[in-house]
Amino acid sequence: MDEESPYLIETLTIMKSTVLILALFAAPIALTAPAQLGSLSSHAKPASYVAYTDLPQTVAANRRSTLEVHFRVLPGYHVNSHTPTEQFLIPTALTVPAAAGVKPGEPAYPAGQPYSFSFDPKNKLSVYAGDFIVKLPVTAAPGAHSIDASLRYQACNNASCFPPKTLPAKISFTAK
């Protein structure tokens, strides 16, 4: 068949339109797929066991709002939660200095996950592993802001521990 019939051309046009409609429907579905946080690990430095990513955020100006501060404990390690179960353990804590036009509140930490070393199974520790988010209340004047916060933590793996570290965590946000 050398010539395409008008009927076939019309059918092809309808099919193309359908594909377009499908694409329009499918796009939002694809966009709602789980967010990938793979880039977090690229911020890891040698001898650092926690990575930080500064995710730009927008909050309401002159009103108490909450910033999310995203951390990731590198695979194979854990750090004490903010409320460790033993007196000598060093809690994970975010230090937030004063910044121009920003009034920070007390950080809110997630609850720890239970963890026991294999050689001490009865002792339940409270740790963070993988991703964790510290919530920081702020009241900020309109404009772009950054807070030079830092996270103090002490990491272990399943066989040994490492000295406490302080990780710089610059928090960038805009108040509108």
């Binding site: 194979g76 996950q113 070393f117 294999s118 066989a159 521990c161 000295p163």
Partner: protein
Amino acid sequence: MLRKALLLLTLTAGLVLVVFAGIRNHRDRVRAAEAARANRVDLVKDNAPIVSPNVDESMRGKPAPNFSLVDLSGKKVTLADFKGHPLVLNFWGTYCDPCKIEMPWLEALSKKYAPQGFDVIGVTYDAEVGKAKISKATQELGVTYPILLSDSKIEDAYLNNVEVLPVSFWVDRNGKVVNVTAGLSDDDTKAKNALEAQVQQTIAAD
């Protein structure tokens, strides 16, 4: 008529596809979330193989560097004080749980092998927390062997920027480092047996 029917059929097929894709996408997301949760729990539940700590083993076979530190009472203690004794120099920290699991075992071994001249020396890596806190921790652990306060000289001589705890330097009666070990392994019985085997090897070394 045929054209309308075909249009209707195509649109219906398209709609079915969209719904199917949506359901499948939702199912995949639920599965991915479940898998992520499962991984997270696995990591914390200690199913992962024990990580071999990265220790500087270049000291093995070399003379143990001398040191001069103070103990919790302020008394000066040097390695030379232990001349002729097989010993373990155990670096620990008050924040280090594996260290504090191991220390009562070392205490028991120091008593058991005292007749063979074996000594245990603890070196507190986080000396900056202060004597009061260190004393409290060691008393709670029931440790009676010498506990010394670390300084940069001994850390430079022994640790070479490796900062894993616990780390032990096993020194024979001739003052030679026969082994370097770090961390604990497997269950408590295996870890305890491994420690005692190290003591015996250090005593037997010539």
